[in-house]
């Protein structure tokens, strides 16, 4: 795969490290000339408006520059139906599994109780260099 331009993809997954204290995920998806930006925060934050705004404007300018037609830009409000972390340490694992599920358009059906198991799964995946 040789993606030369940012809009030659169906979806963009962007891990966000906020001030070295928290991991969240931005997901940009394209559908019917609509660009949809979703922000997933396992701590139910209010959306990191500055970062998302900058990201949106970056994408808009890139779309203009690359003559890519996007009629609608949608920045979805923070979702309330996503799994939430119950401690202060799991944000990175949540973020990685948000990316895992969102990249295949799977519903975010896991819970915080899955995270200890997911941590071990992540270890074996990374160690073996392969996600089953």
């Amino acid at each position: 795969m040789n993606v030369k331009k940012i809009f030659d993809v169906h979806k963009i997954i962007i891990p966000i490290n906020t001030d070295n204290t928290h991991w969240t995920l931005a997901v940009v998806s394209f559908s019917n000339e609509e660009m949809r930006i979703e922000y997933l925060d396992s701590l139910a934050g209010n959306g990191q408006n500055d970062l998302v705004d900058i990201l949106v404007h970056f994408l808009k300018e890139e779309a203009d520059r690359l003559k890519f037609t996007i009629k609608t830009w949608v920045v979805l409000p923070p979702r309330n139906d996503i799994p939430r972390q119950v401690n202060g340490l799991d944000c990175g694992v949540f973020m990685c599994y948000f990316a895992n599920f969102m990249s295949v358009d799977a519903p975010l059906t896991f819970t915080a109780e899955d995270i200890p198991h997911f941590r071990r799964r992540m270890i074996t995946d990374v160690y073996n260099g392969h996600i089953a």
């Binding site: 169906h10 490290n17 394209f30 900058i54 808009k60 944000c91 990175g92 990316a99 799964r121 995946d125």
Partner: protein, 374 residues
């Protein structure tokens, strides 16, 4: 910073000449840096590793880039306004941001427990560890994969040279790698490139519906399945690793052009318990990309690494600072740019982007614009 040309200038002119020179140099460095970072922080994009560099690797070795990832000047202007709604932290220092060098430490972590808070208000600062070790690891005999999924022997020729001349390695790689894209991928390229956005979305739906539905359904059960004996051994081994350990545990080819990046004890320890660090996150993003290539080869997802958004934000901050830094002094030249009323303390968005105008030789327009507005 003085030069012959500045000798005959008035004091103010000389002062400006110095500033001008500094700004031009910093501007060049900044553009190069940001271009590399934006380009290289996209992970697993290209079979030949066009976009697999860690930003610190790219910075350290001055890797070649194209302009496709550099935001246009208009993009900078748009983001300038956004950034200007908030004052950047006082410790955001222009010089440090533009000319900062990788500093020792490891990949930065999230969460307060992660430590290693980088300087200058930047998070996920590129670090020295992941810059240097991949090359050592590669030259020590690890295979250098040409791409995420398609390790090619054509690329191995470069492995031995990496330590000695990383720049030439970077320059040579494309010619090796260009031939390595397999037919499947070539088909995928032309297919995707020929589609309109609507068709792209439809193809995504088709791919999703036909190619990976079963995978989606089995995703959660598969993640929840019990571990095998060998997997348990790995988990147990990792559980005993020191949290700050720097010994290499394994490597994955998510570095520039598929260079192996070492994952150290700390990366694994944080996966076992604690806040993830950049190494863990970026390795996982790389694996997600590999998985997609396997289960949905037609679907194109761009997985950025953890440096992307931070550097985008930093770029905006630097541009903002450059504008304010310059405008403080450009009031000496009202004919060029009337920015005297705009001060660093005000931090309101300048009416236009004077320094860039000036540098591109269209300073007169800048002044005219301003006069028209006033």
């Amino acid at each position: 910073m003085f030069d012959e040309a500045a000798r005959d200038l008035t004091p103010n002119d000389a002062y400006m000449a110095i500033d001008e020179k500094v700004i031009i140099i910093l501007s060049w460095l900044l553009k190069r840096k940001i271009r590399v970072l934006l380009k290289r922080s996209s992970m697993g994009v290209d079979v030949c590793g066009e976009s697999k560099a860690s930003p610190d690797e790219a910075l350290m070795y001055g890797l070649p880039v194209d302009d496709s990832w550099l935001p246009s000047e208009s993009s900078a202007r748009a983001t300038l306004y956004l950034a200007n709604r908030q004052s950047p932290p006082a410790h955001y220092d222009l010089i440090e941001l533009v000319a900062s060098t990788p500093h020792p430490g490891t990949s930065t972590g999230a969460c307060p427990a992660a430590g290693d808070r980088p300087r200058g208000g930047l998070h996920s600062h590129p670090t020295a560890r992941s810059s240097a070790r991949p090359l050592n690891a590669a030259s020590a005999g690890s295979s250098v994969a040409c791409g995420a999924a398609d390790a090619s022997s054509d690329c191995d020729d470069n492995a031995e040279d990496e330590d000695e001349d990383a720049t030439s390695y970077a320059a040579d790689m494309p010619s090796y790698c260009d031939d390595n894209a397999n037919d499947e991928d070539e088909d995928a390229i032309s297919y995707v490139h020929s589609l309109e956005p609507t068709a792209l979305a439809e193809s995504a739906a088709l791919v999703s519906a036909s190619g990976s539905t079963s995978y989606v359904e089995s995703l959660l059960p598969n993640l929840r399945r019990a571990f095998t004996e060998s997997e348990n051994k790995v988990v147990n081994m990792v559980s005993s690793l020191p949290d700050e350990g720097q010994d290499v545990v394994s490597t994955l080819p998510f570095g520039y052009k598929g260079t192996n990046i070492p994952l150290v004890q700390r990366d694994y320890a944080r996966m076992a318990n604690g806040c993830l660090v950049d190494g863990s996150v970026n390795a996982y993003m790389f694996l997600l990309k590999k998985r997609e290539q396997r289960i949905s080869p037609l679907k194109k997802t761009l997985f950025f690494d953890s440096y992307f958004i931070g550097m985008l934000f930093a770029m905006v901050s630097v541009i903002l600072l450059r504008a304010t830094y310059s405008c403080d002094r450009y009031h000496f030249f009202p004919a060029i740019c009337v920015c005297g009323a705009h001060t660093r303390s005000a931090l309101s968005p300048p009416p236009f982007f004077c320094p860039l105008k000036k540098q591109t030789g269209s300073g007169a327009e800048c002044g005219e614009d301003e006069r028209n507005k006033t």
